[in-house]
């Protein structure tokens, strides 16, 4: 039973319970009102309605998994950073569970803070940018399945979309556009520098990133996540394509813009980068989404290189997938709190003269493996 069938069954059960009420009302009330409620019941009972509701429920489940992961990630990040820097990290709020509730407390604080729109800001862009940023990041989650049975973008037969990887990377790459819009519309020198840096950074990392993805798709012979993961049932792609794995890891760090590559949000140079003018829960959304992007990055690395949901049988596939994504995130955090930030005049040189030749070499290796018939 896959996720869609489960949700469909659940919604069908719910609709049956509710329809008892509608039909009882339809019998009980005078003829006009009764017809109205019977019509509602018939509409709810239709296959299309239940399917739409089931898809919404699916989206909700995937989204809740992502949000809980975000809470865990913020907690993990702060705890791990604390231990790396020789202090405790969050401790008091929920001290029985290691300060896990601190994120919720911070979120509540951000909710009660005033939401300010600068008077000279470009209102439309200023308000649109968070929406695009959050929506595009969440959209990237839609085609990433946690297991063959656990994903959103499936057809009625249970097959995933054929070009899921392409779509995920396309949605994932929208964010620099919204960052540029946010930086420009805030009408502030720090934000505009941050937005421009984001655009410049995208030029440098996007090509090697997609070249390594191309090598993986070449090895698997498909753009679909399910086929890519199925091709890794014997050996993870991280082993034959170790070079590509490292290049991909570096590029994905640049993509989610965390510390060694957080040029748009360089706290030491620009105040808070492109989020300087955003206050209250808008900033909270940006922060939450940056961790959501970390989760997507972990999921992508897991699906493309670490064998996705393959593992020992006693743990179900989605749990394996999440464990691997969490481990990838911890590695990213380790890089994040260890490495110095790359300078803005080095990023393009780094991307085009270091990462791109390595990515090309990696593509060559993948082609060689494929030609030899080993995969």
């Amino acid at each position: 039973m896959n996720l869609f069938e489960f949700c469909y069954g659940l919604m069908h059960w719910l609709v049956d319970i509710l329809n008892n009420i509608w039909y009882w009302l339809g019998d009980f009330l005078p003829w006009k009102f009764g017809d109205f409620f019977i019509a509602i019941g018939d509409l709810a009972k239709a296959h299309g309605t239940i399917a739409v509701a089931a898809i919404l429920l699916e989206v909700l489940i995937i989204f809740i998994i992502a949000l809980v992961s975000v809470l865990n990630f913020i907690w993990l990040d702060r705890k791990f950073m604390g231990r790396i820097f020789d202090f405790y990290g969050p401790y008091y709020v929920g001290y029985r569970i290691g300060g896990w509730l601190q994120n919720l407390a911070d979120g509540m604080k951000l909710f009660v803070k005033e939401v300010i729109t600068p008077s000279k800001a470009d209102k439309a862009g200023f308000l649109l940018a968070p929406v695009v940023f959050v929506a595009s990041s969440v959209l990237a989650l839609s085609t990433i399945p946690l297991s063959p049975d656990f994903g959103v973008a499936v057809n009625r037969a249970g097959d995933f979309v054929p070009a899921g990887a392409l779509f995920a990377f396309a949605a994932f790459a929208i964010a620099p556009f919204s960052i540029l819009v946010a930086g420009w519309s805030s009408n502030n020198k720090y934000t505009i520098i941050g937005g421009m840096r984001s655009a410049a950074q995208m030029m440098s990392y996007e090509i090697p990133l997609l070249l390594t993805v191309a090598s993986v798709c070449l090895m698997a012979g498909s753009f679909s996540f399910v086929d890519i993961v199925a091709a890794q049932s014997n050996i993870w792609f991280a082993i034959p394509l170790a070079l590509g794995f490292i290049v991909f890891l570096v590029c994905i760090v640049a993509e989610v813009e965390i510390q060694p590559f957080d040029l748009p949000e360089a706290e030491a140079e620009l105040v808070e980068g492109w989020t300087t003018e955003y206050s209250g829960m808008r900033f909270g959304l940006f922060m939450m989404t940056s961790y959501l992007r970390s989760y997507v990055a972990g999921a992508l690395v897991t699906a493309l290189f670490l064998g996705g949901w393959h593992g020992f049988d006693f743990i179900p596939g989605p749990i394996w997938f999440l464990i691997k994504a969490y481990i990838v995130f911890i590695v990213l955090t380790w890089m994040r709190w260890s490495l110095p930030r790359i300078r803005v005049d080095q990023i393009l040189q780094f991307g085009w003269t270091r990462l791109m030749p390595l990515a090309m070499l990696n593509l060559l290796i993948a082609a060689a493996f494929k030609t030899l018939g080993w995969f």
């Binding site: 790396i84 820097f85 202090f87 405790y88 380790w334 260890s338 490495l339």
Partner: protein, 302 residues
């Protein structure tokens, strides 16, 4: 000019990551983080930490040296009545103005003031920061903590019993006891050169009147001002002797100064002050008490 060392891949990436991982293992796997959770755990402060002052009422003689030396003028002497000690003067401290320099503890000649490691002194009310002598009183502090100041055993003279027999001067192996004549009194008193004294105690053993007593005296950090006596201005009013907190001033009669009264009898002889400088703490109270300019004390303000 030295060439800067070239940082390679290992310097940019490998070594920082190994460094953070060792730190993580050190603070999570094998040990605990370096920080402490403050309100519940506290750091062990060094014994010489300078926190709130504590005052030993039994050791304090009320000389006021601490009040004199306080750079922020945050100490004062308060007159109070103690059931055990009678009428006394003891210092209080305003920790709102205190800069915790520790001069009061250093200058105290009897080590009655100590700086404790108590540092949580904040209060919502400014007037609660002004602590009187009873608020900082702790007579058992010196029993619980080792004295940080060195003691010296010295013979201290009780001049009221001394008969000027000169036995102590003859007994001293270091020849540091000298019999100094006292102008007007006619007798002499032993004066001890303190930096020559080896604390052998022979002078105290030989004293027939037991007026030289070996006493523990704290070594001084500060050089004390000494009172200088002007005999011709002294009227013998004994105001200085009453003011002296260390009982270092004795009023001795000067024979031959009696006035002839109307009925032919002789009156009482005039008195003069004699200073036993081994006991003096240099507080300048005698200087302030004297109304006839008979005591000079360079370096002390009136």
């Amino acid at each position: 000019m030295a060439q800067a060392q070239k940082v390679t891949f290992s310097g940019w990436v490998v070594r920082p990551m190994m460094r953070t991982m060792t730190q993580f293992i050190r603070s999570f796997v094998t040990g605990k983080p370096n920080t402490v959770l403050y309100p519940y755990q506290k750091l062990d402060l060094p014994p010489t930490y300078r926190g709130l002052q504590t005052l030993d009422f039994k050791k304090c003689i009320g000389c006021g040296n601490c009040v004199e030396i306080c750079p922020n003028d945050c100490m004062w002497l308060e007159k109070l009545e103690d059931p055990e000690l009678g009428k006394i003067e003891r210092p209080g401290v305003d920790i709102g103005r205190c800069l915790f320099c520790g001069f009061c503890a250093e200058v105290c000649p009897t080590c009655a003031i100590h700086m404790t490691s108590e540092f949580e002194l904040a209060n919502r009310d400014r007037s609660k920061l002004v602590l009187g002598p009873t608020a900082i009183r702790d007579d058992t502090y010196h029993e619980r903590f080792a004295e940080e100041r060195q003691k010296q055993r010295l013979p201290v003279l009780d001049l009221s019993k001394c008969t000027s027999c000169e036995k102590c001067a003859g007994e001293c192996p270091e020849m540091c006891v000298a019999m100094m004549p006292m102008d007007g009194v006619g007798t002499s008193k032993p004066e001890i050169s303190l930096h020559k004294c080896t604390s052998c105690g022979k002078c105290a053993e030989v004293c027939p009147e037991k007026c030289l007593v070996m006493t523990d005296v704290y070594e001084q950090y500060f050089e004390m001002p000494e009172p200088k006596f002007v005999l011709k201005s002294c009227t013998g009013c004994s105001a200085c002797a009453k003011a002296c907190p260390a009982d270092a001033i004795y009023m001795l009669e000067m024979p031959g100064t009696e006035k002839a009264l109307k009925d032919g009898k002789k009156g009482k002889p005039k008195k003069r002050a004699v200073f036993v400088l081994e006991k003096c703490v240099g507080c300048g109270r005698c200087f302030r008490a004297c109304k006839f300019k008979a005591i000079e004390m360079p370096g002390v303000e009136k």
